[in-house]
Symmetry: C2
């Protein structure tokens, strides 16, 4: 019997934000749209590599370095690298949330649950995202991993959030679309909810979630019924 | 003044092997060839996430889980998932080495340098690759990270190789095309050579290499002149 959930900590990139408009930014600077996914997987690979090796760089720095390594190597691409990097990175500031997020968040907040975010990206960008969606005032804290200099899924990142919020990890629910985030939260002693969205299956190499839902509306229903 | 190099430890995937034929495998099962890069970046992301969280799964297991999560989510793809996964993973067993590798390796071996490999993949697959290239007998050891249950760039992985080979890390040179592998080796106290190949620039977020060369022929010239 798991402990009751009192605090919910949300991942931000892709879990709250819809990153699909970044494809258009890649196309706008003259590269194929699918590069958005290759690049984002590479940013996580590089940031997690640094964490695994005991190092740290900000999401912004890793993301920029990734673009500067990726774009000039493309067959036939002769764009302006500085312009392309700026256009793509600025795209993070324009993203919106998935349609299920505002309703789900209001329902969880109305039920008296504590809400926070924890991102490998920047807390400032996350605050702007939540503000544009009209739900920033529901959040007790908007955190990023800069203070602890270790990216999720390192245990130190989750511990930083629960300690900052004086919460019991066993009563804290990490919510993410990324199985590696679920896996890390579970290993750090938290409960963890996987939002499936378009994913066909949860990978068996990762620790299983304690909750699985199609989207945040469904998860809010499960937690408040 | 760095210590003299006595042992050289090679990364395998992409550093020795030419992985471009995997694109054709993706196309053969009815998916776009560019997915090979997105998938491989995701395999490293997931394996490194497990390492950062204190967990472990084999390259083979992470690679298979990645395909099972990626392929069914593709717009309009209705292939046979088991068949597609098998065809793509079997592709690793058919790769060849880059054209500069055999000559460079023979030159390094002839100069009396100790040679080994260390891969996040499987040592068996690496042995077959080196055997097909006719250079397996130049290697003192063909290692993978299974014994230490931590993927490179965790320090434990490099330490495992130098301890297994009774080598001084300061006299050991890690060779890779991946900046995150260079960064990890440097943090673990090794020297590290970056083979540029098609890369436009070394990312500033990663610890710099001690040696940079276009390919293994050029590196061999630098080390044996």
């Amino acid at each position: 019997m798991p402990a009751p959930v009192r605090l919910i900590v949300f991942d931000v990139n892709e879990t709250l934000s819809d990153m699909s408009p970044l494809r258009a930014r890649f196309e706008e600077v003259g590269t194929p749209g699918y590069l958005a996914e290759t690049w984002f997987a590479g940013v996580l690979r590089d940031g997690l590599a640094l964490t695994a090796a005991g190092g740290y760089a900000s999401f912004q720095a890793v993301a920029e370095a990734g673009l500067r390594a990726l774009l000039p190597g493309l067959d036939g691409w002769h764009g302006d690298l500085d312009h392309a990097v700026a256009r793509i990175l600025d795209g993070f500031g324009d993203l919106g949330v998935h349609p299920d997020i505002p309703d789900g968040m209001r329902q969880l907040h109305a039920a008296g649950l504590r809400l926070a975010t924890l991102t490998n990206g920047s807390a400032t960008t996350a605050e702007r995202l939540l503000s544009r969606a009209g739900i920033l005032d529901r959040f007790e804290a908007v955190l990023d991993v800069a203070a602890v200099r270790a990216w999720k899924p390192a245990a130190a990142a989750y511990r930083y959030a629960t300690e900052w919020l004086s919460a019991d990890p066993a009563e804290t629910l990490q919510v993410a679309v990324h199985p590696w985030d679920i896996d890390g939260a579970r290993r750090a002693g938290l409960q963890a909810a996987w939002l499936r969205r378009a994913s066909p299956a949860y990978p068996h190499v990762m620790t299983a979630p304690t909750h699985t839902a199609q989207d945040l509306r469904e998860l809010a229903g499960m937690l408040t019924s």
